[in-house]
Amino acid sequence: MSTQEHTAAAHVHRDDIGSRMGMWLFLFTELVLFGGLFFMYSVYRYLHHQDFYIAARSMNVFIGTTNTVILLTSSLTIALSIVAMQNGKKILSLILQGTTVIFGLVFLVNKYFEWMAEIHHGNFPGSPELLSQPPGHILFFGLYYVMTGLHGLHVIIGMVIIMIMMRFTMKDVITPDQTVKLEAAGLYWHLVDIIWIFLFPLFYLIT
Protein backbone atom coordinates (compact mmCIF):
# COMPACT_ATOMS: atom_id res chain seq x y z
CA MET A 1 0.00 0.00 0.00
CA SER A 2 2.91 2.36 0.66
CA THR A 3 3.77 2.52 -3.05
CA GLN A 4 0.17 3.42 -3.89
CA GLU A 5 0.12 6.20 -1.29
CA HIS A 6 3.36 7.47 -2.74
CA THR A 7 1.88 7.37 -6.27
CA ALA A 8 -1.25 9.22 -5.14
CA ALA A 9 0.82 11.85 -3.37
CA ALA A 10 3.00 12.32 -6.44
CA HIS A 11 -0.05 13.19 -8.57
CA VAL A 12 -0.55 16.82 -7.68
CA HIS A 13 -2.63 17.47 -10.78
CA ARG A 14 -5.39 14.99 -10.25
CA ASP A 15 -8.94 15.96 -11.13
CA ASP A 16 -11.17 12.91 -11.14
CA ILE A 17 -14.39 14.92 -11.46
CA GLY A 18 -12.91 16.71 -14.49
CA SER A 19 -11.89 13.38 -15.99
CA ARG A 20 -15.35 11.91 -15.60
CA MET A 21 -16.98 15.08 -16.93
CA GLY A 22 -14.71 14.92 -19.97
CA MET A 23 -15.84 11.35 -20.55
CA TRP A 24 -19.49 12.37 -20.29
CA LEU A 25 -18.95 15.19 -22.80
CA PHE A 26 -17.47 12.62 -25.18
CA LEU A 27 -20.47 10.36 -24.62
CA PHE A 28 -22.76 13.24 -25.68
CA THR A 29 -20.96 13.35 -29.05
CA GLU A 30 -21.71 9.62 -29.35
CA LEU A 31 -25.34 10.44 -28.59
CA VAL A 32 -25.36 12.85 -31.54
CA LEU A 33 -23.76 10.22 -33.80
CA PHE A 34 -26.28 7.50 -32.97
CA GLY A 35 -29.11 10.01 -32.46
CA GLY A 36 -28.86 11.02 -36.12
CA LEU A 37 -29.15 7.38 -37.18
CA PHE A 38 -32.16 6.84 -34.88
CA PHE A 39 -33.80 9.93 -36.45
CA MET A 40 -33.18 8.49 -39.89
CA TYR A 41 -34.66 5.17 -38.78
CA SER A 42 -37.77 6.84 -37.37
CA VAL A 43 -38.41 8.91 -40.51
CA TYR A 44 -37.98 5.96 -42.89
CA ARG A 45 -40.09 3.77 -40.67
CA TYR A 46 -42.77 6.47 -40.64
CA LEU A 47 -42.69 6.59 -44.46
CA HIS A 48 -42.46 2.81 -45.03
CA HIS A 49 -44.33 1.43 -42.05
CA GLN A 50 -45.63 -1.76 -43.68
CA ASP A 51 -42.31 -2.61 -45.39
CA PHE A 52 -40.40 -2.32 -42.10
CA TYR A 53 -42.97 -4.54 -40.43
CA ILE A 54 -42.51 -7.28 -43.05
CA ALA A 55 -38.71 -6.91 -43.38
CA ALA A 56 -38.23 -7.27 -39.60
CA ARG A 57 -39.81 -10.75 -39.77
CA SER A 58 -36.52 -12.17 -41.00
CA MET A 59 -34.74 -10.97 -37.84
CA ASN A 60 -33.68 -13.72 -35.47
CA VAL A 61 -35.43 -12.69 -32.23
CA PHE A 62 -33.71 -15.47 -30.27
CA ILE A 63 -30.19 -14.24 -31.13
CA GLY A 64 -31.30 -10.64 -30.55
CA THR A 65 -32.66 -11.45 -27.09
CA THR A 66 -29.59 -13.56 -26.23
CA ASN A 67 -27.31 -10.70 -27.23
CA THR A 68 -29.35 -8.29 -25.10
CA VAL A 69 -28.90 -10.54 -22.07
CA ILE A 70 -25.16 -10.90 -22.83
CA LEU A 71 -24.64 -7.15 -23.12
CA LEU A 72 -26.66 -6.36 -19.96
CA THR A 73 -24.63 -8.96 -18.05
CA SER A 74 -21.36 -7.51 -19.40
CA SER A 75 -22.50 -4.11 -18.08
CA LEU A 76 -22.95 -5.74 -14.68
CA THR A 77 -19.47 -7.31 -14.73
CA ILE A 78 -17.70 -4.05 -15.66
CA ALA A 79 -19.66 -2.17 -12.96
CA LEU A 80 -18.71 -4.85 -10.40
CA SER A 81 -15.05 -4.73 -11.50
CA ILE A 82 -14.95 -1.08 -10.34
CA VAL A 83 -16.49 -2.01 -6.97
CA ALA A 84 -14.02 -4.91 -6.62
CA MET A 85 -11.10 -2.58 -7.36
CA GLN A 86 -12.36 0.01 -4.85
CA ASN A 87 -12.60 -2.79 -2.28
CA GLY A 88 -8.96 -3.65 -2.96
CA LYS A 89 -9.72 -6.95 -4.72
CA LYS A 90 -7.36 -6.63 -7.68
CA ILE A 91 -7.62 -10.23 -8.91
CA LEU A 92 -11.43 -10.23 -8.72
CA SER A 93 -11.49 -6.91 -10.62
CA LEU A 94 -9.23 -8.38 -13.32
CA ILE A 95 -11.45 -11.46 -13.63
CA LEU A 96 -14.55 -9.27 -13.97
CA GLN A 97 -12.89 -7.05 -16.59
CA GLY A 98 -11.80 -10.16 -18.51
CA THR A 99 -15.34 -11.56 -18.26
CA THR A 100 -16.66 -8.33 -19.78
CA VAL A 101 -14.28 -8.69 -22.75
CA ILE A 102 -15.37 -12.33 -23.22
CA PHE A 103 -19.05 -11.29 -23.17
CA GLY A 104 -18.23 -8.67 -25.80
CA LEU A 105 -16.58 -11.35 -27.92
CA VAL A 106 -19.57 -13.71 -27.56
CA PHE A 107 -21.85 -10.84 -28.60
CA LEU A 108 -19.79 -10.29 -31.75
CA VAL A 109 -19.70 -14.02 -32.60
CA ASN A 110 -23.52 -14.10 -32.37
CA LYS A 111 -23.64 -10.98 -34.53
CA TYR A 112 -21.38 -12.68 -37.08
CA PHE A 113 -23.69 -15.71 -37.38
CA GLU A 114 -26.70 -13.42 -37.58
CA TRP A 115 -25.19 -11.33 -40.38
CA MET A 116 -24.04 -14.47 -42.22
CA ALA A 117 -27.57 -15.89 -42.08
CA GLU A 118 -29.00 -12.63 -43.48
CA ILE A 119 -26.36 -12.51 -46.22
CA HIS A 120 -27.12 -16.15 -47.03
CA HIS A 121 -30.78 -15.16 -47.50
CA GLY A 122 -29.66 -12.42 -49.89
CA ASN A 123 -30.47 -9.61 -47.46
CA PHE A 124 -27.35 -7.50 -47.89
CA PRO A 125 -26.85 -4.07 -49.46
CA GLY A 126 -26.77 -4.23 -53.25
CA SER A 127 -27.83 -7.87 -53.56
CA PRO A 128 -30.15 -8.65 -56.51
CA GLU A 129 -32.71 -10.28 -54.15
CA LEU A 130 -32.86 -7.23 -51.90
CA LEU A 131 -32.99 -4.74 -54.79
CA SER A 132 -36.05 -6.53 -56.19
CA GLN A 133 -37.88 -5.87 -52.89
CA PRO A 134 -39.92 -2.75 -52.04
CA PRO A 135 -37.87 0.37 -51.04
CA GLY A 136 -38.81 -0.02 -47.35
CA HIS A 137 -37.05 -3.42 -47.23
CA ILE A 138 -33.88 -1.98 -48.74
CA LEU A 139 -33.95 0.91 -46.25
CA PHE A 140 -34.61 -1.44 -43.33
CA PHE A 141 -31.61 -3.63 -44.13
CA GLY A 142 -29.42 -0.62 -44.94
CA LEU A 143 -30.20 0.85 -41.52
CA TYR A 144 -29.83 -2.57 -39.89
CA TYR A 145 -26.28 -3.06 -41.21
CA VAL A 146 -25.18 0.54 -40.58
CA MET A 147 -26.59 0.79 -37.06
CA THR A 148 -25.69 -2.68 -35.77
CA GLY A 149 -22.36 -2.41 -37.61
CA LEU A 150 -21.48 0.92 -35.99
CA HIS A 151 -22.63 -0.50 -32.68
CA GLY A 152 -20.46 -3.59 -33.23
CA LEU A 153 -17.50 -1.31 -33.95
CA HIS A 154 -18.14 0.35 -30.59
CA VAL A 155 -18.19 -3.09 -28.93
CA ILE A 156 -14.76 -3.83 -30.48
CA ILE A 157 -13.38 -0.44 -29.33
CA GLY A 158 -14.84 -1.03 -25.85
CA MET A 159 -13.19 -4.46 -25.67
CA VAL A 160 -9.80 -2.95 -26.63
CA ILE A 161 -10.23 -0.19 -24.01
CA ILE A 162 -11.11 -2.73 -21.29
CA MET A 163 -8.08 -4.86 -22.26
CA ILE A 164 -5.93 -1.73 -21.83
CA MET A 165 -7.59 -1.26 -18.42
CA MET A 166 -6.64 -4.85 -17.53
CA ARG A 167 -3.04 -3.99 -18.41
CA PHE A 168 -3.28 -0.82 -16.26
CA THR A 169 -4.68 -2.90 -13.40
CA MET A 170 -1.81 -5.38 -13.65
CA LYS A 171 0.71 -2.51 -13.76
CA ASP A 172 -0.93 -0.82 -10.74
CA VAL A 173 -1.80 2.27 -12.76
CA ILE A 174 -5.37 1.54 -11.64
CA THR A 175 -5.39 1.07 -7.86
CA PRO A 176 -8.14 1.03 -5.19
CA ASP A 177 -7.39 4.71 -4.68
CA GLN A 178 -7.23 5.59 -8.38
CA THR A 179 -10.05 4.01 -10.40
CA VAL A 180 -11.07 6.91 -12.63
CA LYS A 181 -9.64 5.32 -15.81
CA LEU A 182 -11.60 2.14 -15.16
CA GLU A 183 -14.71 4.21 -14.41
CA ALA A 184 -14.37 6.06 -17.73
CA ALA A 185 -13.99 2.74 -19.59
CA GLY A 186 -17.10 1.54 -17.75
CA LEU A 187 -19.05 4.64 -18.83
CA TYR A 188 -18.18 3.91 -22.47
CA TRP A 189 -19.24 0.28 -22.14
CA HIS A 190 -22.55 1.25 -20.51
CA LEU A 191 -23.27 3.73 -23.32
CA VAL A 192 -22.76 0.93 -25.84
CA ASP A 193 -25.22 -1.10 -23.77
CA ILE A 194 -27.82 1.72 -23.77
CA ILE A 195 -27.59 2.03 -27.57
CA TRP A 196 -28.27 -1.70 -27.88
CA ILE A 197 -31.23 -1.36 -25.46
CA PHE A 198 -32.85 0.84 -28.15
CA LEU A 199 -31.59 -1.04 -31.21
CA PHE A 200 -33.03 -4.33 -29.96
CA PRO A 201 -36.76 -3.44 -29.91
CA LEU A 202 -36.49 -1.24 -33.02
CA PHE A 203 -35.02 -3.95 -35.26
CA TYR A 204 -36.11 -7.25 -33.71
CA LEU A 205 -39.46 -6.66 -32.04
CA ILE A 206 -41.54 -4.70 -34.54
CA THR A 207 -43.27 -7.64 -36.26
Binding site: M21, Q86, D177
Partner: protein
Protein backbone atom coordinates in the same frame (compact mmCIF):
# COMPACT_ATOMS: atom_id res chain seq x y z
CA UNK B 1 -13.75 10.29 -6.28
CA UNK B 2 -12.87 12.02 -3.03
CA UNK B 3 -15.98 10.58 -1.47
CA UNK B 4 -14.61 7.12 -2.16
CA UNK B 5 -11.29 7.66 -0.40
CA UNK B 6 -10.93 5.65 2.80
CA UNK B 7 -14.28 3.97 2.44
CA UNK B 8 -14.72 0.38 3.44
CA UNK B 9 -16.60 -2.64 2.19
CA UNK B 10 -19.62 -2.05 4.42
CA UNK B 11 -20.25 1.41 2.94
CA UNK B 12 -23.16 1.30 0.45
CA UNK B 13 -21.06 2.84 -2.33
CA UNK B 14 -18.86 -0.23 -2.34
CA UNK B 15 -21.44 -3.00 -2.18
CA UNK B 16 -22.13 -5.36 -5.06
CA UNK B 17 -25.81 -5.85 -4.12
CA UNK B 18 -27.46 -2.87 -5.82
CA UNK B 19 -25.75 -3.65 -9.13
CA UNK B 20 -27.04 -7.22 -9.07
CA UNK B 21 -30.55 -5.99 -8.22
CA UNK B 22 -30.47 -3.55 -11.17
CA UNK B 23 -29.14 -6.30 -13.46
CA UNK B 24 -32.05 -8.56 -12.46
CA UNK B 25 -34.47 -5.68 -13.09
CA UNK B 26 -32.92 -5.15 -16.56
CA UNK B 27 -33.29 -8.85 -17.41
CA UNK B 28 -36.91 -8.80 -16.22
CA UNK B 29 -37.66 -5.75 -18.38
CA UNK B 30 -36.01 -7.47 -21.38
CA UNK B 31 -38.25 -10.50 -20.84
CA UNK B 32 -41.31 -8.22 -20.61
CA UNK B 33 -40.34 -6.43 -23.87
CA UNK B 34 -39.92 -9.75 -25.68
CA UNK B 35 -43.26 -11.08 -24.40
CA UNK B 36 -45.16 -7.85 -25.11
CA UNK B 37 -43.79 -7.84 -28.66
CA UNK B 38 -45.46 -11.22 -29.21
CA UNK B 39 -48.85 -9.78 -28.21
CA UNK B 40 -50.43 -7.72 -30.94
CA UNK B 41 -51.12 -4.30 -29.46
CA UNK B 42 -51.11 -2.54 -32.81
CA UNK B 43 -49.79 1.01 -32.71
CA UNK B 44 -49.19 0.83 -28.95
CA UNK B 45 -46.53 -1.92 -29.32
CA UNK B 46 -43.74 0.47 -30.34
CA UNK B 47 -44.69 2.93 -27.58
CA UNK B 48 -44.53 0.17 -24.95
CA UNK B 49 -41.16 -1.04 -26.32
CA UNK B 50 -39.70 2.48 -26.21
CA UNK B 51 -41.04 3.17 -22.71
CA UNK B 52 -39.46 -0.07 -21.43
CA UNK B 53 -36.18 0.79 -23.23
CA UNK B 54 -36.25 4.23 -21.56
CA UNK B 55 -36.76 2.66 -18.12
CA UNK B 56 -33.82 0.32 -18.78
CA UNK B 57 -31.64 3.24 -19.90
CA UNK B 58 -32.63 5.20 -16.79
CA UNK B 59 -31.48 2.30 -14.59
CA UNK B 60 -28.17 1.98 -16.46
CA UNK B 61 -27.58 5.76 -16.33
CA UNK B 62 -28.39 6.22 -12.65
CA UNK B 63 -26.86 3.08 -11.12
CA UNK B 64 -24.29 1.55 -13.52
CA UNK B 65 -23.07 4.97 -14.70
CA UNK B 66 -23.26 6.37 -11.14
CA UNK B 67 -25.35 9.44 -12.03
CA UNK B 68 -27.27 8.98 -8.75
CA UNK B 69 -24.08 9.69 -6.76
CA UNK B 70 -22.58 12.30 -9.11
CA UNK B 71 -22.77 16.01 -8.35
CA UNK B 72 -25.46 18.27 -9.80
CA UNK B 73 -23.58 19.53 -12.92
CA UNK B 74 -23.43 15.95 -14.26
CA UNK B 75 -27.18 15.52 -13.93
CA UNK B 76 -27.83 18.92 -15.54
CA UNK B 77 -25.49 18.04 -18.43
CA UNK B 78 -27.33 14.81 -19.15
CA UNK B 79 -30.74 16.47 -18.90
CA UNK B 80 -29.66 19.26 -21.29
CA UNK B 81 -28.32 16.67 -23.78
CA UNK B 82 -31.56 14.67 -23.62
CA UNK B 83 -33.61 17.87 -23.90
CA UNK B 84 -31.93 18.81 -27.18
CA UNK B 85 -32.31 15.26 -28.48
CA UNK B 86 -36.07 15.45 -27.77
CA UNK B 87 -36.32 18.96 -29.30
CA UNK B 88 -34.62 17.62 -32.45
CA UNK B 89 -37.01 14.70 -32.84
CA UNK B 90 -40.07 16.88 -32.16
CA UNK B 91 -38.95 19.41 -34.79
CA UNK B 92 -38.17 16.59 -37.21
CA UNK B 93 -41.64 15.11 -36.95
CA UNK B 94 -43.46 18.45 -36.88
CA UNK B 95 -41.72 19.07 -40.20
CA UNK B 96 -42.80 15.70 -41.58
CA UNK B 97 -46.43 15.99 -40.53
CA UNK B 98 -46.65 19.23 -42.52
CA UNK B 99 -45.24 17.75 -45.71
Amino acid sequence: MEKQVAQHIEKPGHSYGKYIVVWLALLTLTAITAVVAGVNLGEVTIAVALIIASIKSYLVLTVFMHLNVESKPFKIFVLVALFFLIVSIVLLFSDFSNM
